[in-house]
Amino acid sequence: MKQEESQILNQIGKESGFKVPDNYFEDFGKRMENMLPEVEITNVNAKPSTWLRIRPYVYLAAMFAGIWCMMKVFNNFNGTASNQLRVNEIAAGIQVENNAEDFLMMGGASDYDVFSYEDSVAMSMDEPLPDVNQP
């Protein structure tokens, strides 16, 4: 360190000229200890309780259980919705089929249409027309 210091500093030396009253540091220690207020200290050296030790693992397990439950609920909801949709689609399909059947079997062809068809056949065969008003 000597090399980095100047000639002036070497001449003056390390004595600063500052003084303190006699027994200052002894008295200071006693005064200071009496001045210290009460503070709350957390005992970090104390052995943690069983609950404190397992607490992080319990929280972790609870978190995963929560996620699992959420996924379960979400899947159930999605399953119910898609099943319901499927049921609706099937029901709608049956309805369409039923409508077509109804159209074909019942509503689709009127008596007039049937007679017109039979008349056209009869006419083509030169047969006399039946009296439609007779029972």
Binding site: E4, Q11, K14, F18, K19, L36
Partner: protein, 186 residues
């Protein structure tokens, strides 16, 4: 005559975190660190009474925030940091009271040095204190820690949060400025 118990830092730090032993342990800390911290503070604030007040504030602050000290850094580093912060805060307050700009150096602190009953330095020592006080605050700190306390640059680096290279440069500049001060005031 009571013999002083050997100071074991690791043991003291453990005791500081135990509510049953913390007060007694802090007593050991005060006993061990009051002198080095006092001199660090005194060289900054110059006046003995001011240094006494700042040292008290330093220990009070350390005591009230002892729960935050987890032992990641050394206790000495933590205490020096508090002491330096308290010193700078005190000097800045004193500058405001003395109506000195915060940007000015700390030379005003040395004005009453010769009349101080707790200073018995000769003319050269007084002049050196004037020269040191004319340095920028951080250079003053670096110079005092290195020149008077012969502190290692690595330790200073931890306390001041500055690289070792920057501290060496700062010390070198401080010496040059002190030499210039002496040549100008001869």
């Amino acid at each position: 005559m009571a013999t002083r118990e050997k100071y074991d830092e690791q043991q003291v730090v453990e005791q500081l975190h135990d509510p049953t032993t913390c007060r007694a342990a802090f007593g050991k800390v005060i006993e061990h660190y009051s002198s080095p911290l006092y001199w660090q503070i005194r060289r900054m604030v110059i006046d003995h009474d001011d240094a006494n007040d700042v040292l008290q504030n330093t220990f009070l602050k350390a005591w009230t925030s002892i729960d935050n000290f987890r032992g990641d850094a050394r206790l000495s580093t933590w205490l020096y940091k508090i002491a330096i912060n308290e010193s700078i805060t005190f000097i800045n307050k004193k500058k405001v009271m003395a109506q000195v700009s915060l940007d000015d150096d700390d030379s005003f602190l040395v004005n009453s040095l010769e009349s101080d009953q707790w200073f018995d330095g000769d003319q050269a020592q007084t002049q050196l204190q004037r020269a040191i006080a004319s340095l920028p605050q951080k250079q003053r700190l670096v110079f005092n820690m290195r020149y008077y306390d012969e502190m290692k640059y690595e330790d200073m680096s931890e306390i001041l949060g500055t690289s070792v290279g920057a501290l060496k440069a700062s010390y070198h500049h401080a010496i040059k400025k002190i030499e210039t001060f002496f040549s100008e005031h001869d």
